[in-house]
Amino acid sequence: MGEFTPFVRTEMLAPQAPPVSQRGAIRWLRENLFSGPLNTVLTLLGLAALLWVVSHLGPWLLHSVWNANSLTECREIIAATWGEGASGACWAMVRDRWHQYLFGFYPSPLYWRPTLAFALLFVAIAPVLYSQLPRKLLLLTAVYPALTFWLLWGGSIWVPVVAMMGFGVFAVVFRLAQPRFGVPVSAGLGAVATSLWWMFAQAPVAAVLQSIAPVTLTSVDSDQFGGFLLSVVIGVTAISASLPMGILLALGRKSDMLLVRTLSVGFIEFIRGVPLITLLFTASLLLQYFLPPGSDFDIILRVIILVTFFAAAYIAEVIRGGLAALPRGQYEAADALGLDYWQAQRLIIMPQALKISIPGIVSSFIGLFKDTTLVAFVGLNDPLKGITQIVRADINWKGIYWEPYLFAGSIFFLICFGMSRYSMWLERKLKTDHR
């Protein structure tokens, strides 16, 4: 009788790779692109569309010409290199006119000034955007507007310095008045004092200081601004001014004081009810009728003010959304701690409301930055339409179509994409819930 020896495995089996359909690229394809009949059809359609775009755009980009003096020359080079009938991009236009796309008609020996101002912009906003940087950098942020104004427009350094002193006047009046009259009244007094300073003291004080210590840069007129210089000047100024203004408007709209609330609601609803282009026409044309004849109120300044108003109205509503999302308990807790209205806003309410509003605020800013191209309709040289029209009016580049749009569009994309990535980073950093 034979001994029955059951089979006993003494060592572990080597693990086998999963079947082909369950691993690697094939599994990914099956799960993501061909998981069902509908998805398969959509994938094939998508591939076909991609192929179509690449087959049309690819050769055009491949045949790019960078060195030529006119569109005709570009076409000749493409025909000579790639044969008759080939089409290609003529980037020689960008090579010839890039400085106008970036700076408009800013005098070329002075290009270092806007460039320096742009570089300093990052230094100035860095401490605002990244809280781990030394707080002393905020000093630079505070003087940055005056410095940039001086760098861009030139003239006497004392004009922006004395204008900044106006804020010093505000601070002094506010400090002196606040213990006696409270925040709103002393802020009003400060504003009145500042306006008086700007209206009556600005010119003589600046003139005296200029005669004592003359520091001047060659002055550049506003009509020489154009291209991305113009877009960034309008965009950055309006963005940085509209956020505080929007916060005040949002608070005003939720205020218990009838007058403040009515004014805030009226302002927000009026500005939101009117298209931006109408406001720009108002800035460019209507204001001229009402100002005293001969007064020269800078067109860029007029446009910046109205773009700021426009952005502030939208920001106010975005922030009001953030305020409405806060639980009532937060307000009551602030009251229970004995904080007054402004302390509660500063320490409890705003940090939370602003955090909630970040995506809305940033998309308003991105929209605002792109809307700066609308200034083309009031005769300013924005990069998309204004400068492109000038380039096309040159007989050498007449007939060029896609290249200017692609060039300007890609710079806009870089800037807007940067803003959007920053806001995502900020959201992750400030995330305190435990979802």
């Binding site: 009728y289 004849p293 005769g379 204004g386 007989i395 007449k398 007939g399």
Partner: protein, 338 residues
């Protein structure tokens, strides 16, 4: 009530602007700079070059006026104006004069309260078609698709022309000249219509210019000229006669090259008056006696300006046509300088 207050404010503002504008010549002299409303960019007529200096046919007239009034052709500030902003910019006093290929029409002259002081270019609306369409006259365009800019007088002219000739067409609307040229080349329309000078400029830059023809019919009158605010006649006279000085200079053979020689040697009393050697025409205008000489020296006479910017030596290659002197069968005619 509210409306009347608003209108009252507006008219008061307009009145103020009118008072301010009453002495544009004095304003310009006091400022030391002429503010000239110009096109944002129109090939050959007015556009900044790669260095940001404005060049073109209309621009040259601005420079001539600056030379006549201020003695320096470079003392001009060019304010680019769009089709929408141009008339308000002039009415509100933002610019002293508008030299921006604007068509002289009844309503602009009378209703908008402007004065067109002269016609520096006689334009008209034409058609461009591909040669292989086999069309040689605009009257054969029945049933064609036509690329046309929206919101312009060209759109109305086109409708009138087809209605008058009992024909039909399909419009393909476009926003600006660049788009029109692209659509036309891509075959979206059989014919492209706009001002004949614009068609010539577009055709000049096409990759296959020989395959396109501009049809002989001109279906509208587009007299383009400088304009000033209504009621400021002294300033209007300065612009008008500066322009006529350029036209007269061509007629009498005075060019930027021979102007000094002419001033010294000419026996023609009309040329002497024009160049300020004799008479006091300048004083009547409120200028000095050399005004005409400086205006002509700035960019040359009318013919020189035409040839340098849009004439047959340039890629645009516009023929003088209606813009030839009256002595050569055209319409450019300067009244006598006396």
């Amino acid at each position: 009530m509210k409306k009347s207050v608003f209108l009252g404010t507006l008219s008061a503002a307009a009145l103020l602007a009118g008072i301010a504008g009453a002495g544009t010549l004095d304003d310009v002299k006091a400022r030391g700079q002429l503010i000239c409303g110009t096109n944002v960019g129109l090939t050959g007529f007015g556009a900044p070059d790669a260095n940001g200096n404005y060049q073109g046919f209309d621009v040259a007239l601005c420079k001539a006026v600056a030379a006549a009034v201020l003695g320096d052709a470079s003392k001009v500030k060019f304010v680019p104006t769009t089709g929408e902003t141009r008339f308000t910019a002039l009415a509100s006093g933002e610019v002293d004069v508008l030299i921006r290929n604007s068509t002289w029409t009844f309503s602009r002259d009378v209703d908008l309260k402007f004065d067109f002081v002269a016609v520096n270019y006689y334009d008209g609306q034409g058609f461009m078609v591909k040669k292989d369409l086999g069309v040689s006259s605009a009257k054969e365009l029945d049933g064609a698709t036509i690329c046309i800019q929206t919101g312009t007088t060209t759109e109305l002219n086109l409708a009138d022309f087809f209605k008058a000739n009992n024909m039909t067409y399909t419009p393909v609307t476009i926003a600006d000249d660049a788009e029109g040229q692209r659509q036309y080349l891509a075959g979206a329309c059989d014919a492209y219509t706009t001002d004949a000078s614009g068609l010539a400029a577009s055709r000049a830059t096409m990759p296959d210019a020989d395959n396109h023809i501009i049809l002989p019919e001109i279906i509208s009158k587009e007299p383009l000229g400088p304009l000033v605010r209504h009621g400021d006649n002294q300033w209007g006279d300065v612009i008008r006669w500066t322009y006529y000085a350029l036209v007269a200079a061509e007629e009498y053979g005075v060019t930027s090259a021979n102007i000094e020689e002419m001033a010294n040697t000419t026996q023609n009393p009309e040329i002497k008056r024009l160049l300020g050697v004799e008479g006091d025409l300048g004083a009547m205008l409120g200028l000095d006696k050399d005004w005409g000489k400086r205006a002509i020296a700035a960019s040359g006479n009318y013919g020189e300006i035409f040839e340098a910017n849009i004439g047959s030596a340039t890629p645009i290659k516009l023929a003088r046509g209606l813009n030839a002197l009256w002595t050569q069968g055209g319409l450019q005619y300067a009244p006598p300088f006396r």
